[in-house]
């Protein structure tokens, strides 16, 4: 099915209704396998058992960044290509992205306390991740502040694209500044520095969380299309009442 064919909300709804349960099942299976593998893997030689927090913290961080990137692409779809589902995709993704970013911040704090002796430090990686969370909240607030969906979509698209500057800052913060947070240990030019016994469960839980995101996103997009249908019907009712 070509990308432009999904511009038809009716066709998208049919596809989403089939894909959502499949992705949800895949998420449950992958997360179950990933966590079993993760808790059977050996403890880290330095961090001990607290390395188990990585199986949720790292996928949540990647998804927080990835979902924002998806929203930035959707913003281009809204402003440049005027794809009818672009702002629906962006609006549906924002609360889920905020949720994963919040998980990253909470689990990071709970990992930081036993390892660094502090729940929070104003380190470049932590601070830029907090800025990402605040961007998500700002985008959610802007969606609620403007009633007309098309107008709100364009305003949010501009804010999303401006805020995208923070995504490479989060990624490279550990290279550009002297941070307490460790540097990248998976996506590196010279390959991952994590032992395969710990890396494998991490990749499986990442796939599981990604499948969960797709399921939630498709369901939230369907809800948003329904919400716009409700709005149209209410406008029709108001017009007929005159």
């Amino acid at each position: 099915m070509a990308f432009y064919e999904l511009a038809n909300p009716h066709r998208f709804m049919t596809l989403a209704r089939c894909l959502t349960p499949a992705c949800a099942v895949a998420a449950v299976v992958l997360l179950a396998v990933g966590f079993v593998l993760g808790f059977r893997a050996p403890a880290d030689y330095q961090q001990g058992e607290t390395v188990r927090i990585m199986y949720i913290h790292v996928p949540a961080a990647w998804l927080g960044l990835g979902i924002y990137t998806l929203m930035a692409i959707s913003a281009l779809g809204t402003l440049v290509w005027r794809h009818p589902l672009a702002d629906v995709a962006a609006k549906a993704a924002a609360p889920i992205g905020a949720g994963f970013t919040l998980i990253c911040l909470l689990t990071g704090a709970l990992w930081g306390r036993p390892m660094w002796g502090a729940y929070w430090v104003w380190d470049a990686r932590l601070t830029s991740m907090l800025v990402l969370f605040l961007l998500y909240l700002g985008i959610l607030a802007l969606w609620r502040a403007i009633e007309e969906p098309g107008q709100a979509g364009r305003a949010v698209a501009i804010l999303t694209l401006v805020g995208f500057i923070n995504v490479p800052i989060v990624k490279f913060s550990v290279d550009w500044w002297n941070t307490l947070h460790q540097p990248a240990s998976v996506f590196r030019i010279d390959g991952p520095t994590i032992h395969p016994a710990i890396l494998a469960p991490l990749l499986v839980t990442t796939l599981g969380f990604a499948a969960l995101f797709v399921a939630l996103h498709l369901a939230a997009m369907r809800n948003e299309i329904l919400r716009r249908r409700v709005r149209t019907l209410r406008l029709l009712a108001a017009a007929e009442a005159r």
Partner: protein, 60 residues
């Protein structure tokens, strides 16, 4: 299994993630029900959309 002296932090991290994810799942389900109910209420008042005409499958 033994989670060592930092078990509380590990368990708290998993519980926090579970709560946030559960809230997202509940939000999606409740929102879907609310929108479907709103559409049903409007359609009961005779306000219909094009896809609700006879012969067109409802995919919502």
């Amino acid at each position: 299994m033994e989670l060592g002296q930092h078990a509380g932090f590990i368990v708290a991290a998993y519980v926090a993630a579970l709560i946030v994810l559960a809230l997202l799942v509940v939000w999606v389900i409740v929102d879907h029900r609310m929108q479907r109910q709103a559409i049903a209420k409007l359609e009961a008042q005779g306000i219909t959309r094009r896809s609700a005409r006879p012969g067109v499958e409802d995919v919502g």
